[in-house]
C-alpha cells in the first residue's frame, strides 16, 4: 500500500515537471508581445523594446524557464507583469472561488443524480421510468452555458429573483454569496447531474442482478431494503470513478460558466491573463490546474480503496 502511494507520488511529480515544460514551451511560441500590450499603441518601438527588457522577455528561454520553475518549487509564483501583484495570492483567491463553485455543483449533481438514477432503475420497465430516463437524456444533451443563459433569462432577467451574475465573498455577505452561487452552480451541475444519473441507473441495474442481492432477497429482505443495505455501496464504485473524472471536466466547464456569469474564478483569471500575455501568471495558473486535477485523481483512487475493500487486497 505504501509502495503504491510512493510510486503514484513519483508519477505525480514527473507529470508536474513535464507539464511545466510543455506549458512554458507552448506559451513561449504564442504570438503577441506583452510589452506592446502593456504600453499600447502610443508607444514607440524603442519604448516597447526597453519595456521588454525590463520585463525580462529578452532573456534566453531556458533561463526564463529555470528562473520561473525554480521559484515555483519554493512556492513563489512570481509577480504578474500586468497587475504587478504577487501571482500566488491571485491564483489562490480565484481558485477558492472556482472550487466553491465546482464543489457546490458536484453536491447538487449528486443530490439530483442519486435519487433520480435509483428511481429510473427501479421503475425501469414502467412508463414513468422511461419518461424519467428521457428527461435525463435531454439533460445530458444541453450544454452548461446554454443552461446558464436560460436560467439567467428566466430567474434573473424575467422574474428578477436572483442576480444575473457576479460574485460576493461569503465572509462579506453570506446571503448575497448564496444568491450569486445558485444559478451558476445549477448551470454547471445540471449536465453532470444528468450524466451521473445515467451511471447511477446502469450501476444500480447491474448490482440488482448480482448474486448477493438474490441472496439477500432469499433471506427475506424486500427489494428496497436489499438494494439499500447491500446494493448501493457496490453501485457507488463505478459512480465514484465517473465523478472523479467529472470533477476535472467541471473545472474546464467552470471556465465557460464563469464567463457567462462574470465570476472572477480561475477560468476567468486564466482567460484574462492569456489575453494580456501575462505569461508568468498563465504558467502559474495552468500548473495549478494540472496539480489540482492530478491530486483529485489521486484522491479518487484512494477513496476507492476505502469504499471497496476488495480493491485493498488487489493493490
Amino acid at each position: 500500500m505504501v509502495l503504491v502511494v510512493l510510486r503514484r507520488l513519483g508519477v505525480f511529480a514527473t507529470t508536474v515537471v513535464v507539464a511545466s515544460v510543455v506549458t512554458f514551451l507552448m506559451l513561449s511560441i504564442l504570438p503577441g508581445n506583452a510589452a506592446r500590450i502593456a504600453l499600447g499603441v502610443q508607444a514607440s518601438e524603442a519604448d516597447v523594446a526597453a519595456q521588454a527588457t525590463a520585463m525580462g522577455l529578452d532573456r534566453p528561454a531556458i533561463v526564463r524557464y529555470l528562473d520561473w520553475f525554480g521559484n515555483v518549487l519554493i512556492g513563489d509564483f512570481g509577480t504578474s507583469t500586468v497587475s504587478r501583484q504577487a501571482i500566488g495570492p491571485e491564483i489562490t483567491d480565484a481558485l477558492g472561488i472556482t472550487v466553491i463553485l465546482v464543489l457546490t455543483s458536484v453536491v447538487l449533481a449528486l443530490l439530483f443524480a442519486i435519487p433520480f438514477g435509483i428511481l429510473t432503475a427501479v421503475r425501469q420497465r414502467k412508463p414513468d421510468g422511461a419518461i424519467l430516463s428521457g428527461i435525463s437524456q435531454i439533460g445530458v444533451a444541453v450544454p452548461g452555458f446554454l443552461a446558464g443563459m436560460l436560467l439567467v433569462t428566466i430567474f434573473a432577467v424575467t422574474l428578477r429573483w436572483l442576480p444575473a451574475g457576479g460574485w460576493v465573498d461569503p465572509g462579506e455577505d453570506f446571503g448575497g454569496f448564496i444568491e450569486h452561487l445558485i444559478l451558476p452552480a445549477i448551470a454547471l451541475g445540471s449536465v453532470q447531474g444528468a450524466v451521473l444519473s445515467r451511471y447511477v441507473r446502469s450501476s444500480v441495474l447491474e448490482v440488482m442482478r448480482e448474486d448477493f442481492i438474490r441472496t439477500a432477497r432469499a433471506k427475506g429482505l424486500g427489494a428496497g431494503r436489499a438494494l439499500f443495505r447491500h446494493g448501493l455501496r457496490n453501485a457507488a464504485v463505478p459512480v465514484m470513478t465517473v465523478l472523479g473524472l467529472q470533477i476535472a471536466t467541471l473545472l474546464v466547464g467552470a471556465v465557460v460558466i464563469e464567463r457567462v456569469f462574470s465570476i472572477p474564478g480561475l477560468g476567468s483569471l486564466l482567460l484574462d491573463k492569456v489575453a494580456l500575455r501575462d505569461l508568468p501568471a498563465v504558467q502559474g495558473i495552468v500548473l495549478v490546474l494540472v496539480v489540482f486535477v492530478l491530486a483529485l485523481n489521486f484522491l479518487v483512487d484512494l477513496a476507492f480503496t476505502l469504499i471497496d475493500p476488495r480493491l485493498r487486497s488487489a493493490t
Binding site: G32, A164, V260, P264
Partner: protein
Amino acid sequence: MFASIATVMVASMALVGCSSGSTTAGGKPDTSLTVGLLATPGNLDYTTTAGAAIPQALLYNVYEGLVKLDNDGTIIPLLAESWTVSDDGLVYDFLLHDGVTFSDGSPFTAESVKFSLERVKDNWTANGPAYLDPIASIEAVSDTEARITLSKPSNSWLFNMSGPVGTMFTESGLADLATAPVGTGPYTVSSFKSGDSLVLAANADYWGEAPYMTGVTLRYFTDATAQTNALLSGDINLISGISQFQLVDQFKSNPDFQVLEGASTGEVTLSMNNASDAFSDVRVRQAVMYAIDRQAVMDTANSGFGLLIGSMVPPTDPWYDESLADLYPYDPDQATDLLAEAGVSDLTVAFKIPNLPYAVAGAQVVKDQLAKVGITANVTALEFPAVWLDEVFSKHDYDMSLIMHSEPRDVTAFAAPTYYAGYDSPAVMAKFAEADGADATSYIELMKEATTTMAEEAAADWLYLQPAIALADADLLGVPKNTPSLALDLSTIAR
C-alpha cells in the same frame, strides 16, 4: 448642475424625511450606483499601463488635472481656477484652487504641478508622455500660482493636459500606483479586483462640490449579453458605451430604462497599408473608397447605429467637416474604372482584422463589396489585442484591416509615416505642425485642411463613428452622453 440640484434634494429629504423618487427602504435617497463596463483594468497605474480602461475609471473621478474636458469636448478649469496665456503663446500662468488636498492628506500646491509634470518625461511609459514635450520649464511662483513655459506655441498640449498626462500626483502617494491611487478627485478607491470590480467611495474631504453618488461600483464584464442581462435584472444601474448594438432595442421599448445616444471619439477605420504593394497607389485606395457602401457596413456591423464621417474627425472636434462624409459616394463603376486606370487586375489583399464582433461583422460586408469590383480580400481574424498589435500594428504585416481608433484627436498620430497605416505625406505633417503653433482661428482652419487632404488621398476609409450609447435606469440623471475624453465622469450622475 445636477450635483447642485442633488445636494438640495439630499438636504431637503434629510429635513422632512420625505421619500419621493428612488429611495432605499429606510427612506433615504439611494446614493449608490453600480456601473457595468466591458474592459477591465489590469492594474490602476496609467503612467506605465496603456489602454482606455484605467483612465475611464480614474480620470476626473480619482485623479484630476489642471483642466478637464466637459461633455461637449470644451476645455474647462479643474484644479486651475483660471489661466492666462502670453501673447506669444509661450507662457501659461495658472491660478490654482486654494485648500485642495490629496486623499492622503497632503496639500496640492504649485509644487505638485511642477512635481507631477516633470515626472512624466522620465517615469511615464504609457498614455503619451510625449504630449508634454512642448513644455520647456515649470515654475512654482507661489502656492497657488504655477507658470508653465513652452518651447514653442502648441494648441494641442493644453488639450492633452486634460487627459492622463496632465494628472496631478503627490510624492507621498506614489508608493502603490498599481492598486492604491492617491489623487485630488471626488472619489477614492476602496477596493479593486482586476476582472471583477473597482469600488469607489466619495472623498469626504473633496475640495469641490460633493458628488451625489456616495458609493460607486464599477463592475467588469467580458460578455456584452451578460452585461445587459445584469442591467435588466437590476444588478447594475448603468452601462456606459455599449458595444453590441443589437442589444439596445430591447431597452428602447422598456419604460424602466433610458437609452442615451451621444458622440464618441471612436472612428471605425478600414485601414489600408499605404506602404504595401497593394495600396501604395492612391487610385487603388480611392477605388476602395468608391467600392465600399459605408451605410451598409454600419447597418450590418452596428445595427445602423453610428454616424458616417468620411474623415478621422468626430463632431466634437472644432475642425469637423460634415461634407467629407459624401466625398466618396458608393459607386462601384467608378471603382472599377480607377482600378483599370491604375493597371490593377485580380488584386488579392491580406485583410487582417481583430477578432472583435464589429470587425468580424463589418469585414464580411467589406469583403463582399470588394469582390464586386474584382478585389479578393482574404479575411483573417487575429486575437485582439495580442496578435493584432504584434502582426498588424507593430510589424505592418498586412494589406487591409478594420479597427476602431478610440483615442481623442488621434488623426495626427495616424498621419505619422512610421504609423501602421504607412501614410507618408510630408505636406500633411508640415500642416499639422504649423496648425499646432498657430493662433486659435488658423489652428482650426489648418487642421481642417490637413484632415481633408488625408481624406482626399484616401489615407484610410473611415467607415463611421461609433456612437456612445449609454443604457441606464430610467431614474438616473446627469449620465454623460458624449465621450469626448477617455474618462467616465461620475460626478454629474444623480437620481
